[in-house]
């Protein structure tokens, strides 16, 4: 499962009160439990079921994902800048695994 690698784009230099856009993408098959493999066997459900974003330790955004979310979940949201700090992003897999990434943001 080491092929699952999240990617996040956070603007590096920002100003106070600016609303910035944060783009996230994680490579994941998102097996809905309805698709079949070439042998006709149903592929069991395995999806990313939750995504969350924290800024300086405080949760700012969370999303529950269902099987209707596409392969390689792409999530974009906005954040109003108050101070410099660090974002922590976390994705939860049905199989119990967690994938995470952190990004710094500096107020100039």
């Amino acid at each position: 499962m080491s092929s699952i690698k999240p990617r996040v784009k956070v603007p590096k230099e920002v100003s106070i009160d600016e609303i910035v856009e944060i783009k996230t993408l994680i490579r994941h098959p998102m097996h809905s439990g309805r698709m079949k493999d070439p042998e006709g066997q149903t592929i069991p459900r395995q999806i990313i079921n939750s995504f969350s974003a924290k800024f300086n330790g405080k949760e700012i955004f969370q999303m529950d994902l269902e099987p209707s979310i596409s392969t390689n979940p792409y999530i974009v949201f906005q954040y109003k800048v108050k101070e410099s700090g660090k974002f922590d992003f976390e994705w939860l897999d049905d199989n119990g695994e967690k994938y995470s990434i952190s990004k710094e943001m500096i107020v100039s």
């Binding site: 949760e59 700012i60 969370q62 529950d64 269902e66 209707s68 392969t71 979940p73 108050k82």
Partner: protein, 154 residues
């Protein structure tokens, strides 16, 4: 059929008639819900109170060539303060095997209520957006998406 008849009358009349037809065709489908999984789910979430139809920007393609990757964006007007902010947004699809697509939890720190993701649509259907603010008021909107190739497998 209708359109062929309309050609004989003036352009202005025709436009008025079209407005009347689409008006009557669209609204009953919301108010007198037939068996619609998404609307049932809205009833469940709102405890039967229902939601006010409101002016939410919900961006979906009119025609999705590939139901596997349908981009959905939304934005709502909200001051996003501690006392008045949108707390939860649900995306629901009435023609998918399960109506639930996603649930977003917003906080005032975000400064705006807007997000984008990509979803699967198994066939042509309505996609609903239901939003709840911190005072337990519900708002909704919907959009119809025509799907050329379904995207749920099976």
């Amino acid at each position: 059929m209708k359109l062929r008849k309309l050609k004989k009358i003036s352009r202005r009349n025709a436009l008025q008639l079209i407005a009347v037809f689409t008006g009557t065709a669209v609204f009953p489908s919301i108010s007198f819900a037939q068996s619609n999984k998404a609307l049932d789910r809205i009833n469940e979430i709102t405890n039967g109170l229902g939601a006010t139809e409101s002016d939410i920007w919900l961006d979906l393609p009119e025609i999705a060539e590939n139901g596997n990757q349908v981009k959905v964006s939304f934005e709502m007007d909200s001051p996003m303060t501690e006392t008045d902010h949108i707390k939860t947004v649900y995306i629901l699809a009435d023609g998918n095997p399960s109506p639930n697509v996603a649930k977003f939890s917003f906080t005032p720190e975000m400064g705006s209520c807007s997000a984008t993701t990509r979803m699967r649509l198994s066939k042509t259907q309505n996609v609903y957006l239901l939003a709840a603010n911190n005072n337990e008021q519900f708002f909704m909107t919907y959009a119809k998406v025509k799907v050329t190739i379904g995207g749920c497998g099976g």
